[in-house]
Protein backbone atom coordinates (compact mmCIF):
# COMPACT_ATOMS: atom_id res chain seq x y z
CA UNK A 1 0.00 0.00 0.00
CA UNK A 2 2.87 2.34 0.85
CA UNK A 3 4.42 1.71 -2.57
CA UNK A 4 1.10 2.48 -4.25
CA UNK A 5 0.82 5.72 -2.30
CA UNK A 6 4.39 6.73 -3.17
CA UNK A 7 3.78 5.88 -6.86
CA UNK A 8 0.73 8.14 -6.96
CA UNK A 9 2.59 10.87 -5.07
CA UNK A 10 5.54 10.79 -7.53
CA UNK A 11 3.21 11.26 -10.49
CA UNK A 12 1.32 14.10 -8.80
CA UNK A 13 4.65 15.88 -8.29
CA UNK A 14 5.46 15.32 -11.95
CA UNK A 15 2.07 16.77 -12.84
CA UNK A 16 3.59 20.10 -13.89
CA UNK A 17 4.92 18.39 -17.02
CA UNK A 18 1.53 17.62 -18.47
CA UNK A 19 -0.95 19.85 -16.64
CA UNK A 20 -0.46 22.52 -19.34
CA UNK A 21 -1.22 19.91 -22.00
CA UNK A 22 -4.36 18.94 -20.08
CA UNK A 23 -5.62 22.52 -19.99
CA UNK A 24 -4.68 23.01 -23.66
CA UNK A 25 -6.64 19.89 -24.56
CA UNK A 26 -9.59 21.35 -22.64
CA UNK A 27 -9.36 24.42 -24.89
CA UNK A 28 -10.04 22.07 -27.75
CA UNK A 29 -13.35 20.87 -26.23
CA UNK A 30 -15.38 23.89 -27.48
CA UNK A 31 -13.82 23.55 -30.95
CA UNK A 32 -14.81 19.88 -31.13
CA UNK A 33 -18.28 20.66 -29.85
CA UNK A 34 -18.68 23.30 -32.55
CA UNK A 35 -17.77 20.73 -35.22
CA UNK A 36 -20.28 18.24 -33.86
CA UNK A 37 -22.95 20.89 -33.43
CA UNK A 38 -22.79 22.07 -37.05
CA UNK A 39 -22.45 18.52 -38.36
CA UNK A 40 -25.46 17.12 -36.52
CA UNK A 41 -27.56 20.24 -37.05
CA UNK A 42 -26.90 19.92 -40.78
CA UNK A 43 -27.77 16.22 -40.74
CA UNK A 44 -30.97 16.60 -38.72
CA UNK A 45 -32.13 19.65 -40.70
CA UNK A 46 -31.89 17.62 -43.89
CA UNK A 47 -34.47 15.18 -42.52
CA UNK A 48 -32.27 12.26 -41.46
CA UNK A 49 -33.75 10.59 -38.37
CA UNK A 50 -31.27 9.77 -35.60
CA UNK A 51 -31.93 8.18 -32.20
CA UNK A 52 -31.09 11.48 -30.43
CA UNK A 53 -31.61 15.21 -30.97
CA UNK A 54 -28.91 17.90 -31.18
CA UNK A 55 -29.01 18.83 -27.47
CA UNK A 56 -28.74 15.16 -26.38
CA UNK A 57 -25.85 14.65 -28.77
CA UNK A 58 -24.08 17.79 -27.55
CA UNK A 59 -24.51 16.67 -23.91
CA UNK A 60 -23.06 13.28 -24.86
CA UNK A 61 -20.03 14.70 -26.70
CA UNK A 62 -19.36 17.19 -23.88
CA UNK A 63 -19.01 14.29 -21.42
CA UNK A 64 -16.87 12.29 -23.87
CA UNK A 65 -14.53 15.21 -24.64
CA UNK A 66 -13.97 16.07 -20.96
CA UNK A 67 -13.28 12.42 -20.13
CA UNK A 68 -10.93 12.14 -23.10
CA UNK A 69 -8.93 15.15 -21.94
CA UNK A 70 -8.79 13.78 -18.40
CA UNK A 71 -7.78 10.14 -19.07
CA UNK A 72 -5.66 10.54 -22.19
CA UNK A 73 -2.51 10.08 -20.14
CA UNK A 74 -3.37 6.36 -19.81
CA UNK A 75 -2.40 6.01 -23.48
CA UNK A 76 1.21 6.45 -22.38
CA UNK A 77 1.21 3.01 -20.74
CA UNK A 78 2.06 1.25 -24.01
CA UNK A 79 5.11 3.44 -24.57
CA UNK A 80 6.28 3.08 -20.96
CA UNK A 81 6.11 -0.72 -21.00
CA UNK A 82 7.61 -0.82 -24.51
CA UNK A 83 10.65 1.26 -23.49
CA UNK A 84 11.08 -0.55 -20.17
CA UNK A 85 11.30 -3.89 -21.99
CA UNK A 86 13.37 -2.77 -24.98
CA UNK A 87 15.80 -0.50 -23.10
CA UNK A 88 16.42 -3.08 -20.41
CA UNK A 89 15.00 -0.83 -17.67
CA UNK A 90 12.79 -3.74 -16.63
CA UNK A 91 15.87 -5.31 -14.96
CA UNK A 92 15.60 -2.85 -12.11
CA UNK A 93 11.88 -3.39 -11.67
CA UNK A 94 12.25 -7.17 -11.56
CA UNK A 95 14.83 -7.15 -8.78
CA UNK A 96 12.86 -4.68 -6.65
CA UNK A 97 10.36 -6.12 -4.14
CA UNK A 98 7.42 -4.52 -5.96
CA UNK A 99 4.86 -5.66 -8.49
CA UNK A 100 5.68 -3.94 -11.79
CA UNK A 101 2.07 -4.00 -13.15
CA UNK A 102 0.71 -2.46 -9.93
CA UNK A 103 3.41 0.19 -9.60
CA UNK A 104 2.91 1.21 -13.24
CA UNK A 105 -0.86 1.29 -12.72
CA UNK A 106 -0.65 3.47 -9.62
CA UNK A 107 1.78 5.82 -11.32
CA UNK A 108 -0.70 6.15 -14.18
CA UNK A 109 -3.46 6.65 -11.60
CA UNK A 110 -1.40 9.45 -10.06
CA UNK A 111 -1.23 11.15 -13.44
CA UNK A 112 -5.04 11.36 -13.67
CA UNK A 113 -5.93 11.80 -10.03
CA UNK A 114 -6.04 15.56 -10.50
CA UNK A 115 -7.17 15.74 -14.14
CA UNK A 116 -10.25 13.49 -13.76
CA UNK A 117 -11.90 15.41 -10.86
CA UNK A 118 -10.87 18.75 -12.44
CA UNK A 119 -12.31 17.67 -15.79
CA UNK A 120 -15.55 16.54 -14.14
CA UNK A 121 -15.87 19.78 -12.16
CA UNK A 122 -15.43 21.78 -15.37
CA UNK A 123 -17.93 19.47 -17.06
CA UNK A 124 -20.47 20.12 -14.28
CA UNK A 125 -19.86 23.87 -14.67
CA UNK A 126 -20.46 23.53 -18.42
CA UNK A 127 -23.59 21.42 -17.85
CA UNK A 128 -25.10 24.13 -15.64
CA UNK A 129 -25.68 26.13 -18.84
CA UNK A 130 -28.37 23.74 -20.05
CA UNK A 131 -29.49 21.60 -17.09
CA UNK A 132 -29.31 21.08 -13.34
CA UNK A 133 -26.72 18.30 -12.81
CA UNK A 134 -27.76 15.52 -10.43
CA UNK A 135 -25.12 15.33 -7.61
CA UNK A 136 -25.45 11.53 -7.31
CA UNK A 137 -25.08 11.19 -11.08
CA UNK A 138 -21.93 13.35 -11.02
CA UNK A 139 -20.45 11.29 -8.18
CA UNK A 140 -21.17 8.06 -10.05
CA UNK A 141 -19.72 9.62 -13.20
CA UNK A 142 -16.49 10.13 -11.26
CA UNK A 143 -16.50 6.45 -10.21
CA UNK A 144 -17.40 5.36 -13.75
CA UNK A 145 -14.61 7.49 -15.25
CA UNK A 146 -12.03 5.91 -12.94
CA UNK A 147 -13.34 2.44 -13.83
CA UNK A 148 -13.16 3.38 -17.53
CA UNK A 149 -9.62 4.65 -17.02
CA UNK A 150 -8.66 1.33 -15.37
CA UNK A 151 -10.10 -0.65 -18.30
CA UNK A 152 -8.23 1.59 -20.77
CA UNK A 153 -5.03 1.26 -18.77
CA UNK A 154 -5.34 -2.54 -18.61
CA UNK A 155 -5.75 -2.71 -22.39
CA UNK A 156 -2.82 -0.36 -22.97
CA UNK A 157 -0.70 -2.37 -20.54
CA UNK A 158 -1.61 -5.59 -22.38
CA UNK A 159 -0.58 -4.00 -25.69
CA UNK A 160 2.69 -2.84 -24.13
CA UNK A 161 3.37 -6.41 -22.89
CA UNK A 162 3.25 -7.66 -26.47
CA UNK A 163 6.77 -6.17 -26.71
CA UNK A 164 7.96 -9.41 -25.04
CA UNK A 165 7.07 -11.22 -28.26
CA UNK A 166 7.16 -8.76 -31.15
CA UNK A 167 9.65 -6.04 -30.06
CA UNK A 168 7.74 -3.09 -31.55
CA UNK A 169 4.18 -2.35 -30.59
CA UNK A 170 3.82 1.35 -31.37
CA UNK A 171 2.07 0.78 -34.70
CA UNK A 172 -0.28 -1.72 -33.03
CA UNK A 173 -1.01 0.99 -30.48
CA UNK A 174 -1.89 3.40 -33.30
CA UNK A 175 -4.19 0.78 -34.85
CA UNK A 176 -5.78 0.30 -31.43
CA UNK A 177 -6.50 4.06 -31.23
CA UNK A 178 -8.53 3.75 -34.43
CA UNK A 179 -10.46 0.76 -33.06
CA UNK A 180 -10.95 2.54 -29.72
CA UNK A 181 -12.43 5.60 -31.40
CA UNK A 182 -15.05 3.42 -33.15
CA UNK A 183 -16.04 1.03 -30.37
CA UNK A 184 -15.70 3.27 -27.32
CA UNK A 185 -18.35 5.71 -28.52
CA UNK A 186 -15.78 8.49 -28.94
CA UNK A 187 -16.46 8.99 -32.64
CA UNK A 188 -20.15 8.26 -32.67
CA UNK A 189 -22.59 7.59 -29.79
CA UNK A 190 -23.21 3.84 -29.77
CA UNK A 191 -26.98 4.36 -29.41
CA UNK A 192 -26.94 5.74 -32.97
CA UNK A 193 -25.81 2.39 -34.35
CA UNK A 194 -28.42 0.40 -36.26
CA UNK A 195 -30.61 -1.86 -34.07
CA UNK A 196 -28.67 -4.99 -35.08
CA UNK A 197 -25.36 -3.50 -33.97
CA UNK A 198 -26.50 -2.09 -30.62
CA UNK A 199 -24.88 -5.02 -28.77
CA UNK A 200 -21.60 -3.18 -29.34
CA UNK A 201 -22.67 -0.93 -26.45
CA UNK A 202 -21.58 -3.80 -24.16
CA UNK A 203 -18.05 -4.18 -25.54
CA UNK A 204 -15.13 -3.48 -23.13
CA UNK A 205 -14.01 -0.38 -25.06
CA UNK A 206 -17.40 1.24 -24.39
CA UNK A 207 -16.33 1.37 -20.71
CA UNK A 208 -14.04 4.26 -21.53
CA UNK A 209 -16.47 6.86 -22.94
CA UNK A 210 -19.91 5.49 -23.70
CA UNK A 211 -20.69 3.87 -20.35
CA UNK A 212 -19.67 6.89 -18.20
CA UNK A 213 -21.88 9.11 -20.38
CA UNK A 214 -24.81 6.71 -19.84
CA UNK A 215 -24.12 6.54 -16.10
CA UNK A 216 -24.49 10.32 -15.93
CA UNK A 217 -27.85 9.91 -17.63
CA UNK A 218 -28.97 7.61 -14.79
CA UNK A 219 -28.19 4.17 -16.26
CA UNK A 220 -26.16 3.09 -13.25
CA UNK A 221 -26.23 -0.60 -14.16
CA UNK A 222 -23.29 0.06 -16.49
CA UNK A 223 -21.06 0.44 -13.40
CA UNK A 224 -21.32 -3.33 -12.79
CA UNK A 225 -20.38 -4.03 -16.39
CA UNK A 226 -17.35 -1.76 -16.04
CA UNK A 227 -16.37 -3.48 -12.79
CA UNK A 228 -16.58 -6.87 -14.50
CA UNK A 229 -14.29 -5.65 -17.29
CA UNK A 230 -11.81 -4.24 -14.74
CA UNK A 231 -11.58 -7.68 -13.08
CA UNK A 232 -11.41 -9.53 -16.42
CA UNK A 233 -8.85 -7.32 -18.14
CA UNK A 234 -6.84 -6.72 -14.95
CA UNK A 235 -6.59 -10.49 -14.51
CA UNK A 236 -5.60 -10.94 -18.15
CA UNK A 237 -2.89 -8.27 -17.81
CA UNK A 238 -1.40 -9.99 -14.74
CA UNK A 239 -1.50 -13.37 -16.47
CA UNK A 240 0.17 -12.08 -19.66
CA UNK A 241 2.78 -10.29 -17.53
CA UNK A 242 3.69 -13.59 -15.81
CA UNK A 243 3.90 -15.49 -19.10
CA UNK A 244 5.75 -12.69 -20.91
CA UNK A 245 8.33 -12.26 -18.19
CA UNK A 246 9.64 -15.74 -18.97
CA UNK A 247 10.41 -14.50 -22.52
CA UNK A 248 12.27 -11.43 -21.29
CA UNK A 249 15.91 -11.06 -22.30
CA UNK A 250 17.65 -8.02 -20.83
CA UNK A 251 19.02 -5.62 -23.41
CA UNK A 252 21.49 -4.19 -20.95
CA UNK A 253 19.94 -0.71 -21.08
Amino acid sequence: MKICRISIFIEIRKMKQYIINFFTSLMYVPISLLIYYFLYRSILESGVKLAADVSELMAYYTVVLFIRAAVSHAMRAVYDVFTDINDGDLDLWIVCPVSYPFVRFFRAMGSVIVTVPTGILLLVAAMCFWSQPDPVGVLLLLVSTFLGFTVLYAMMFLLGLLTFWIKTVLTIRDIFWGILSIFSGELIPLQLLPEKLRFFAWNPLASVYYMPARVLEGEWGYLWVQLAYVVLLGGAALLVWRVGLRKYESQGG
Binding site: T24, Y28, F38, S42, L50, G178, I179, L187, I188, L192
Partner: protein, 254 residues
Protein backbone atom coordinates in the same frame (compact mmCIF):
# COMPACT_ATOMS: atom_id res chain seq x y z
CA UNK B 1 19.36 13.70 -55.19
CA UNK B 2 21.94 11.27 -53.84
CA UNK B 3 21.16 12.34 -50.28
CA UNK B 4 17.43 11.98 -50.92
CA UNK B 5 17.90 8.43 -52.24
CA UNK B 6 19.93 7.60 -49.17
CA UNK B 7 17.18 8.95 -46.90
CA UNK B 8 14.60 6.83 -48.73
CA UNK B 9 16.76 3.71 -48.39
CA UNK B 10 17.20 4.30 -44.65
CA UNK B 11 13.48 4.91 -44.19
CA UNK B 12 12.58 1.62 -45.89
CA UNK B 13 15.22 -0.30 -43.92
CA UNK B 14 13.87 1.18 -40.68
CA UNK B 15 10.47 -0.38 -41.40
CA UNK B 16 11.90 -3.70 -42.60
CA UNK B 17 13.98 -4.03 -39.43
CA UNK B 18 10.85 -5.23 -37.60
CA UNK B 19 9.01 -8.28 -38.87
CA UNK B 20 5.35 -7.61 -39.82
CA UNK B 21 5.76 -3.85 -39.30
CA UNK B 22 5.04 -3.17 -42.97
CA UNK B 23 1.67 -4.98 -42.66
CA UNK B 24 0.91 -3.18 -39.41
CA UNK B 25 1.49 0.21 -41.03
CA UNK B 26 -0.83 -0.80 -43.85
CA UNK B 27 -3.45 -2.02 -41.37
CA UNK B 28 -3.23 1.28 -39.49
CA UNK B 29 -4.09 3.29 -42.61
CA UNK B 30 -6.87 0.80 -43.42
CA UNK B 31 -8.44 1.06 -39.95
CA UNK B 32 -8.38 4.84 -40.30
CA UNK B 33 -10.37 4.64 -43.55
CA UNK B 34 -12.80 2.07 -42.15
CA UNK B 35 -13.52 4.19 -39.07
CA UNK B 36 -14.29 7.24 -41.22
CA UNK B 37 -16.44 5.20 -43.62
CA UNK B 38 -18.32 3.62 -40.69
CA UNK B 39 -18.92 7.07 -39.19
CA UNK B 40 -20.55 8.31 -42.39
CA UNK B 41 -22.40 5.06 -43.01
CA UNK B 42 -24.04 5.26 -39.56
CA UNK B 43 -24.97 8.93 -40.01
CA UNK B 44 -26.56 8.34 -43.38
CA UNK B 45 -28.61 5.50 -41.90
CA UNK B 46 -30.16 4.59 -45.20
CA UNK B 47 -30.85 8.17 -46.35
CA UNK B 48 -29.68 9.18 -49.80
CA UNK B 49 -28.31 12.62 -49.00
CA UNK B 50 -28.31 15.50 -46.53
CA UNK B 51 -26.95 18.54 -48.30
CA UNK B 52 -23.88 16.62 -49.41
CA UNK B 53 -24.25 13.39 -51.30
CA UNK B 54 -22.90 10.10 -49.99
CA UNK B 55 -20.29 9.92 -52.73
CA UNK B 56 -19.08 13.40 -51.77
CA UNK B 57 -18.37 12.46 -48.14
CA UNK B 58 -16.73 9.16 -49.07
CA UNK B 59 -14.51 10.86 -51.67
CA UNK B 60 -13.77 13.57 -49.07
CA UNK B 61 -12.64 10.85 -46.63
CA UNK B 62 -10.32 9.38 -49.27
CA UNK B 63 -8.91 12.79 -50.22
CA UNK B 64 -8.33 13.50 -46.50
CA UNK B 65 -6.31 10.26 -46.33
CA UNK B 66 -4.45 11.22 -49.52
CA UNK B 67 -3.55 14.56 -47.94
CA UNK B 68 -2.36 12.73 -44.81
CA UNK B 69 -0.04 10.75 -47.06
CA UNK B 70 1.28 13.88 -48.78
CA UNK B 71 1.71 15.64 -45.45
CA UNK B 72 4.11 12.89 -44.34
CA UNK B 73 6.66 14.81 -46.45
CA UNK B 74 6.74 17.31 -43.58
CA UNK B 75 6.79 14.71 -40.80
CA UNK B 76 10.10 16.09 -39.47
CA UNK B 77 8.40 19.31 -38.36
CA UNK B 78 6.30 17.44 -35.79
CA UNK B 79 9.08 16.53 -33.39
CA UNK B 80 11.42 19.44 -34.13
CA UNK B 81 10.64 20.79 -30.67
CA UNK B 82 11.84 17.63 -28.89
CA UNK B 83 14.99 17.70 -31.01
CA UNK B 84 15.68 21.27 -29.93
CA UNK B 85 14.98 20.46 -26.28
CA UNK B 86 17.47 17.56 -26.41
CA UNK B 87 20.10 19.74 -28.10
CA UNK B 88 20.14 17.38 -31.09
CA UNK B 89 19.43 20.10 -33.62
CA UNK B 90 23.09 21.19 -33.43
CA UNK B 91 24.28 18.41 -35.70
CA UNK B 92 22.23 19.74 -38.63
CA UNK B 93 23.92 23.11 -38.31
CA UNK B 94 27.39 21.63 -38.99
CA UNK B 95 26.37 20.05 -42.26
CA UNK B 96 26.77 21.78 -45.64
CA UNK B 97 23.06 21.59 -46.48
CA UNK B 98 19.93 23.38 -45.27
CA UNK B 99 19.25 22.09 -41.70
CA UNK B 100 15.54 22.10 -42.40
CA UNK B 101 15.75 20.03 -45.59
CA UNK B 102 18.10 17.58 -43.91
CA UNK B 103 15.67 17.16 -41.03
CA UNK B 104 12.70 16.63 -43.34
CA UNK B 105 14.67 14.15 -45.46
CA UNK B 106 15.98 12.20 -42.50
CA UNK B 107 12.52 11.67 -41.02
CA UNK B 108 10.73 11.00 -44.31
CA UNK B 109 8.42 8.02 -43.59
CA UNK B 110 8.43 6.63 -47.13
CA UNK B 111 6.53 3.39 -46.51
CA UNK B 112 3.59 4.84 -44.49
CA UNK B 113 3.41 7.72 -46.98
CA UNK B 114 3.17 5.38 -49.99
CA UNK B 115 0.70 3.09 -48.23
CA UNK B 116 -1.64 5.93 -47.32
CA UNK B 117 -1.50 7.32 -50.85
CA UNK B 118 -2.17 3.89 -52.36
CA UNK B 119 -5.09 3.14 -50.02
CA UNK B 120 -6.56 6.58 -50.74
CA UNK B 121 -6.26 6.07 -54.51
CA UNK B 122 -7.79 2.60 -54.23
CA UNK B 123 -10.58 4.08 -52.11
CA UNK B 124 -11.26 6.81 -54.69
CA UNK B 125 -11.42 4.15 -57.41
CA UNK B 126 -13.80 2.04 -55.31
CA UNK B 127 -16.16 4.94 -54.53
CA UNK B 128 -16.05 6.01 -58.18
CA UNK B 129 -17.13 2.55 -59.36
CA UNK B 130 -19.67 2.03 -56.54
CA UNK B 131 -21.48 5.33 -57.18
CA UNK B 132 -20.87 5.48 -60.94
CA UNK B 133 -18.96 8.78 -60.83
CA UNK B 134 -17.39 9.96 -64.09
CA UNK B 135 -13.87 11.17 -63.38
CA UNK B 136 -11.70 12.87 -65.99
CA UNK B 137 -7.88 13.06 -65.95
CA UNK B 138 -8.13 16.87 -66.06
CA UNK B 139 -10.26 17.01 -62.91
CA UNK B 140 -7.97 14.52 -61.18
CA UNK B 141 -4.89 16.59 -61.99
CA UNK B 142 -6.59 19.77 -60.81
CA UNK B 143 -7.55 18.00 -57.57
CA UNK B 144 -4.00 16.74 -56.93
CA UNK B 145 -2.51 20.14 -57.84
CA UNK B 146 -4.80 21.97 -55.44
CA UNK B 147 -4.17 19.37 -52.75
CA UNK B 148 -0.40 19.89 -53.06
CA UNK B 149 -0.83 23.65 -53.00
CA UNK B 150 -3.10 23.44 -49.94
CA UNK B 151 -0.70 21.08 -48.17
CA UNK B 152 2.23 23.44 -48.72
CA UNK B 153 0.12 26.39 -47.52
CA UNK B 154 -0.96 24.48 -44.39
CA UNK B 155 2.58 23.34 -43.64
CA UNK B 156 3.86 26.90 -44.01
CA UNK B 157 1.39 28.04 -41.34
CA UNK B 158 2.25 25.02 -39.18
CA UNK B 159 5.98 25.63 -39.77
CA UNK B 160 5.72 29.33 -38.84
CA UNK B 161 4.45 28.25 -35.41
CA UNK B 162 6.74 25.23 -35.03
CA UNK B 163 9.92 27.22 -35.80
CA UNK B 164 9.26 29.36 -32.74
CA UNK B 165 10.52 26.37 -30.72
CA UNK B 166 14.05 27.27 -31.89
CA UNK B 167 13.63 30.41 -29.83
CA UNK B 168 11.29 29.38 -26.98
CA UNK B 169 11.98 25.59 -26.86
CA UNK B 170 8.42 24.81 -25.75
CA UNK B 171 5.68 25.40 -28.28
CA UNK B 172 3.84 22.06 -28.14
CA UNK B 173 0.66 23.42 -26.54
CA UNK B 174 0.01 25.92 -29.34
CA UNK B 175 1.25 23.54 -32.04
CA UNK B 176 -0.96 20.69 -30.81
CA UNK B 177 -3.93 23.03 -30.85
CA UNK B 178 -3.31 23.72 -34.55
CA UNK B 179 -2.73 20.03 -35.13
CA UNK B 180 -6.08 19.18 -33.58
CA UNK B 181 -7.87 21.33 -36.12
CA UNK B 182 -7.06 18.40 -38.44
CA UNK B 183 -10.44 16.91 -37.46
CA UNK B 184 -12.13 19.55 -39.61
CA UNK B 185 -10.55 18.00 -42.69
CA UNK B 186 -12.98 15.09 -42.78
CA UNK B 187 -16.17 17.19 -42.69
CA UNK B 188 -17.72 19.07 -45.63
CA UNK B 189 -16.85 22.76 -45.24
CA UNK B 190 -20.37 23.62 -46.39
CA UNK B 191 -21.93 22.69 -43.03
CA UNK B 192 -20.07 25.48 -41.20
CA UNK B 193 -21.00 29.18 -40.99
CA UNK B 194 -19.09 31.60 -43.18
CA UNK B 195 -16.71 32.82 -40.44
CA UNK B 196 -15.54 29.27 -39.66
CA UNK B 197 -15.25 28.55 -43.39
CA UNK B 198 -13.01 31.58 -43.82
CA UNK B 199 -10.92 30.49 -40.81
CA UNK B 200 -10.57 26.95 -42.19
CA UNK B 201 -9.62 28.25 -45.61
CA UNK B 202 -7.06 30.95 -44.85
CA UNK B 203 -5.95 30.78 -41.20
CA UNK B 204 -5.82 27.02 -40.44
CA UNK B 205 -6.38 25.89 -44.03
CA UNK B 206 -7.93 22.46 -43.48
CA UNK B 207 -10.41 23.12 -46.27
CA UNK B 208 -7.59 23.50 -48.78
CA UNK B 209 -6.17 20.03 -48.16
CA UNK B 210 -9.39 18.03 -48.48
CA UNK B 211 -12.63 19.88 -49.15
CA UNK B 212 -11.66 21.97 -52.19
CA UNK B 213 -9.69 19.15 -53.87
CA UNK B 214 -12.85 17.01 -53.49
CA UNK B 215 -14.94 19.77 -55.08
CA UNK B 216 -12.47 19.88 -57.98
CA UNK B 217 -12.37 16.11 -58.38
CA UNK B 218 -16.15 15.85 -58.57
CA UNK B 219 -16.36 18.91 -60.83
CA UNK B 220 -18.83 20.73 -58.55
CA UNK B 221 -19.80 24.30 -59.22
CA UNK B 222 -18.30 26.06 -56.19
CA UNK B 223 -16.00 29.12 -56.09
CA UNK B 224 -12.42 28.31 -55.11
CA UNK B 225 -10.49 30.41 -52.57
CA UNK B 226 -8.10 33.02 -53.97
CA UNK B 227 -4.62 32.23 -52.70
CA UNK B 228 -2.68 34.84 -54.75
CA UNK B 229 -2.24 37.06 -51.70
CA UNK B 230 -2.57 34.50 -48.89
CA UNK B 231 0.12 32.15 -50.23
CA UNK B 232 2.99 34.72 -50.38
CA UNK B 233 1.93 36.05 -46.97
CA UNK B 234 2.07 32.56 -45.43
CA UNK B 235 5.46 31.95 -47.10
CA UNK B 236 6.80 35.26 -45.76
CA UNK B 237 5.54 34.47 -42.22
CA UNK B 238 7.13 31.02 -42.37
CA UNK B 239 10.44 32.35 -43.69
CA UNK B 240 10.53 35.19 -41.14
CA UNK B 241 9.74 32.80 -38.28
CA UNK B 242 12.54 30.43 -39.35
CA UNK B 243 15.19 33.08 -40.00
CA UNK B 244 14.61 35.04 -36.79
CA UNK B 245 14.23 31.91 -34.64
CA UNK B 246 17.35 30.16 -35.94
CA UNK B 247 19.37 33.27 -35.06
CA UNK B 248 18.11 33.01 -31.47
CA UNK B 249 18.78 29.26 -31.26
CA UNK B 250 20.85 28.39 -28.18
CA UNK B 251 21.95 24.78 -27.94
CA UNK B 252 20.96 22.84 -24.87
CA UNK B 253 24.00 20.65 -25.13
CA UNK B 254 21.94 17.44 -25.36
Amino acid sequence: MKILMQFIRISVKRILAYPNEIYMVFLQAFVSVVSTALFWAVLFSGEEAYGHSQEFVYILAMIALLSNGVQELFFGLRDLEYLVQAGEFDRYLYLPRSPLLLRLGETLPVVPMCQQILIALAGIALVTVRFGIMLTPGRFLKCVGFLLLGTVYYQMIYGAVTFLCLRTENISSLRDLIFQFGDYKQYPLGIFPIVIRFFLTYIIPMGLVAYYPTVLLLGLDEPLPQLYLAMPLAAAACWWSYRTSIKKYASNGG
